[in-house]
């Protein structure tokens, strides 16, 4: 089946098998490396991308379902060589260690801040329910989201 999608501002058109998962489409067909696969039960969130302004788990979607949609991945956040405020905050606050969950974690953080520019610690933790990090204990991630909120609010 032929699909048309916009990914990080670029248009793509491919013929895909209906069963091709969106994550495999992004990684194998389009050639991205940001969204990762950490589980098959839709719990780890490493594959999180933004689809039509909403954070979704790209491992729990078929590429054909995204036909016509606009997708942003971690690769699409930095603009003109400048990191997104959330990326910058994860870096400054040491919000990552092994980095494998990080692209999904940043996309989920973006969803939090898009909907609530000034979240509390509890709201941040609740907003990250769909993403697992095994390295950081989340505290520096919480700090990063707060710092990004402050940076973008300022």
């Amino acid at each position: 089946m032929n699909i048309h999608v916009t990914i990080n501002g670029k248009n793509y058109s491919h013929d895909v098998e209906p069963r091709l998962l969106l994550i495999h489409y992004l990684r194998e067909v389009v050639g991205l490396t940001g969204p990762h696969i950490g589980c098959e039960t839709s719990l780890c969130g490493a594959c999180t991308v933004e689809l039509g302004g909403k954070a979704v788990k790209s491992c729990t979607m078929f590429a054909v379902q995204a036909n016509g949609a606009s997708i942003t991945t971690i690769e699409g956040l930095a603009a003109n060589g400048k990191l997104h405020a959330i990326q910058e905050a994860f870096w400054n606050e040491h919000g990552l260690q092994c980095g494998f969950c990080t692209p999904g974690m940043i996309m989920a953080s973006k969803q939090i801040l898009d909907r609530n520019p000034n979240p509390t610690e509890e709201e941040i933790r609740h907003g990250l329910e769909g993403n697992i990090c095994r390295c950081t204990g989340y505290q520096h991630i919480v700090n990063a989201v707060k710092a990004a909120a402050k940076a973008t609010g300022a």
Binding site: T33, C39, T73, N92, H94, G99, R134, G137
Partner: protein
């Protein structure tokens, strides 16, 4: 050419942000799964659904007939490949033959029996489903206690008692200690099986270059060099024709400190099909077949005097080994024995280990590896003793600590504790918590019927693995430091960081030592073709051993810089500071960059000196290091549901000198998260038939953000004399200190109900049942 701005020595101890992060936060890092090669094939491993079964036959015809399937291999096909290695040796150890694919029998659910190779991962998955195995299902045993019972199913038929080894160690006069004791306390304490769960599962890409007889193996591993040596042996390859690359590695926590069947299997496949092949473990496979951690049943006895002085410790460990020995499986519980006295002085110890085979995936090193079990045990027992003697848990610890003037301190288990002030972090934690005020709050809350608990642990650990005689495969570490002709500095480390941030901390060391800008330093690791032989990253060793190797390589290099500098400055009295070699008489100077350039240009050489500016150092540590600390935890138990809420978490850790506080704090947080995971949530559960019923993230509760408390992290600093950096290691500290503090806190909360001990994980139902039976 040399544009570097020199600056004073300030980087060590600074919270500078990590140099590895730009690629990680932009999604451009290269993990194994990101590696693509022309002609890449995909492999799927067919696994046993049974924990114990004979293989009557395997029918691959249907799978092989699928278009796109290029090869299928079963146990018979790989019979020439050597077994999965066990690197640990113990007297009398029984070592089952661990072939990379099962041949006639399987020993645990998930056991690999065949591999299907196809041009596409979707086709490979379809074909794997088509492989038909005719099983004769056998009785399995998953519980180590049941495995020891007479008549239990034999995991390996040749050893019907299911014992892999017995290990004994004792010191002092344990009988006298117990005979003369005023009080003896006993408790069985469980450290449940845990699943390490790095977010990146394992994965391998193998590429065979037939004309060169060379194999490139990309694997998500913590030990690229050791893996190379062992896989070369398994495959019968010359070691120098096997290149192992650990690309970006998405967490390990010990489970990638191993050599797995699939690593050799993919090498075998690539050589057979003469094409690159990729295998990526699914999470389900990761849970079924990558090592688990812990798996102890520990029987403790403590003897003490009325005043709280601990006089002796007895420990009997039943270690659930699983069906095989992976790289270090049988060695892990021996670390528990080494650590069993904790921070306390007692010289009378008695320890037995029984290593038990079960029809489960092997246990092996998981964050802390043997030391969390021991620390959990001793720190629980000290609290049990304190309760028995009606002493304050802080007081009894302070009474028994090794004192600062007693270092180096020989322990009853044969270690030499390097340095410490064990009371300092405990006192600091008590201060931060306002301990006395907290106890008053607790007695008030108890009057209102609330269940508030205060618990602490004072932990020690064995880190910086370690002196080679005491470490399988060697415990040294290597470093090469090169100043390139342009003046840029490259550090090649034999460690293999996968989240610990050594690209930053080692650059801090190099920049400070050479007085160059940190942006001019590049740290390279994880590729056996680029880096001299090394050991790897595990056992909180990377900075303390690998960083020290870097340090010494830098010292050699500095001497060489000075030689060249003296020659260029025509001086016999030079100093190297701030990136400049200065003639102490004239004040004239040459920058490190200028000197490096001259060393390569070699127009003139100092006497007995080679051109170039490269130094390699293999550092053998004279001892382990022994970090320590104290964690204090305030909990509140919901009387109605049994749910535990961690209200406050205070961690005061002493890991010696701190090179980068941001990174150290991150390590503590992550360690604590895994400790809380064990204390409250995580447990690998096998049913009676050996089925892993926590087989996905659906049922195995890795803590999420909302399940963890805010961690108040602080430090005391007691440098180690073992290495010139004074660093002890911090990777495992949080985990080791955590679980006993949390359990002690919850037991304290329930102590008014007469509760004396709770095993992990402290699930709401378990706590509710305790509350209910008390009422």
């Amino acid at each position: 050419m040399a544009t570097t701005i020199t600056r004073p020595k300030t980087l060590i101890g600074k919270a500078i942000r990590r140099r590895e992060d730009p690629r990680l936060i932009t999604g451009t890092a290269t993990y194994v799964e990101d590696i693509k090669m022309p002609g890449m094939h995909y492999a799927v491993v067919v696994r046993s659904p049974h924990a114990a079964a004979k293989i009557r036959s395997i029918d691959t015809s249907k799978a092989a007939a699928r278009p796109g399937v290029v090869a299928i291999f079963t146990g018979q096909d790989v019979s020439k490949v050597g077994p999965v290695p066990c690197g640990a040796s113990l007297p009398g150890l029984r070592v089952p033959n661990h072939t990379i694919l099962a041949t006639d029998r399987v020993y645990y659910a998930g056991h690999p029996v065949a591999v299907v190779v196809a041009t596409d991962r979707y086709i490979a998955a379809d074909a794997a489903d088509d492989v038909e195995v005719d099983w004769e299902v056998l009785k399995a045993v998953a519980d180590p206690l049941k495995a020891l019972e007479p008549g239990a199913p034999a995991v390996h038929p040749q050893w019907p008692d299911n014992k892999a080894f017995d290990f004994h160690q004792e010191h002092g006069d344990i009988d006298k200690a117990f005979a003369e004791a005023d009080v003896i306390v006993k408790q069985r304490i469980l450290s449940q099986r845990l699943i390490p769960t790095p977010m990146e599962t394992r994965g391998v890409v193998a590429e065979w270059r037939a004309a060169d007889r060379a194999l490139n193996l990309y694997s998500s591993t913590q030990i690229p060099h050791l893996l190379r040596s062992m896989v070369a042996q398994m495959l019968g390859l010359e070691e120098n024709r096997l290149r192992v690359v650990a690309p970006e590695v998405g967490g390990g926590f010990g489970c990638k400190l191993n050599v797995y069947a699939e690593e050799a299997l993919m090498g075998f496949v690539a050589m057979k099909i003469n094409k690159p092949v990729k295998w990526i473990e699914t999470r389900r496979e990761n849970y079924l077949t990558t090592i688990h951690g812990r798996g102890h049943v520990d029987d403790y006895e403590l003897s003490a005097k009325r005043d709280g002085t601990i006089t002796g410790i007895k420990l009997r460990i039943i270690q659930d080994l699983g069906a095989y020995h992976q790289l270090l499986t049988p060695a892990i519980p021996t670390l528990s024995v080494l650590m069993m006295p904790g921070l306390y002085k007692t010289q009378n110890i008695f320890a037995d280990i029984v290593g038990v085979f079960t029809n489960c995936v092997p246990t092996d090193a998981y964050r802390g590896a043997g030391r969390p079990e021991a620390t959990h045990g001793i720190e629980r027992m000290v609290d049990i003793l304190a309760a028995e003697l009606k002493m304050d848990p802080a007081e009894i610890r302070l009474k028994n600590f090794v004192q600062p003037n007693e270092f180096p301190f020989p322990t009853a288990t044969g270690l030499i504790y390097d340095s410490g002030d064990y009371a300092a972090p405990l006192k600091k934690a008590l201060d931060i918590a306002e301990y006395e005020k907290l106890r008053r709050e607790q007695s008030e809350s108890r009057k209102q019927g609330r269940l508030m608990g205060i618990g602490m642990s004072a932990y020690g650990e064995i880190c910086a693995f370690g002196p080679s005689p005491a470490t399988p495969a060697g415990g040294w570490e290597s470093a090469t430091v090169k100043i390139e002709p342009s003046g840029k500095v490259t550090v090649l480390t034999g460690t293999s960081p996968h989240g610990q941030g050594e690209e930053t901390t080692f650059a801090q060391i190099a920049a400070d030592e050479l007085g160059v800008d940190i942006d001019d330093v590049l740290v390279v690791h994880g590729d056996t073709a680029l880096v001299q032989y090394g050991i790897g990253t595990f056992g909180s060793r990377a900075t303390a051993v690998g960083g020290t190797a870097v340090y010494f390589a830098l010292q050699d290099l500095k001497a060489k810089i000075k030689k060249f500098g003296a020659m260029l400055l025509n001086s016999d009295d030079v100093t190297l500071a701030n990136g400049q070699c200065i003639d102490n008489k004239t004040g004239a100077s040459k920058s490190v960059q200028e000197i490096a350039a001259a060393s390569y240009r070699a127009m003139q050489l100092p006497p007995n000196t080679e051109p170039g500016m490269v130094s390699t150092h293999f550092w053998e540590p004279p001892n382990f290091t022994f970090p320590f600390g104290a964690h204090l935890v305030v909990t509140e138990v919901d009387r109605d549901t049994g749910a535990v809420k961690v209200v406050r978490y205070i961690a005061v850790d002493d890991c010696g000198n701190i090179l980068n506080p941001l990174i150290v704090t991150g390590q503590v947080h992550g360690g604590v998260a895994q400790g809380i995971g064990q204390a409250l949530y995580e447990q690998a559960v096998y049913d009676e038939a050996g089925q892993l019923i926590t087989g996905e993230l659906m049922d195995y509760a890795v803590p999420k953000a909302h399940m963890l408390p805010w961690i108040e992290s602080d430090h005391t600093v007691t440098p180690t004399p073992v290495n010139p950096l004074g660093v002890k290691g911090v990777g495992e500290a949080g985990t080791i200190g955590c679980s006993p503090a949390v359990v002690n806190s919850v037991v304290d909360a329930l102590s008014p109900l007469g509760v004396k001990h709770i095993d992990m994980p402290m699930t709401p139902e378990k706590i509710w049942k305790l509350i209910r039976s008390a009422q």
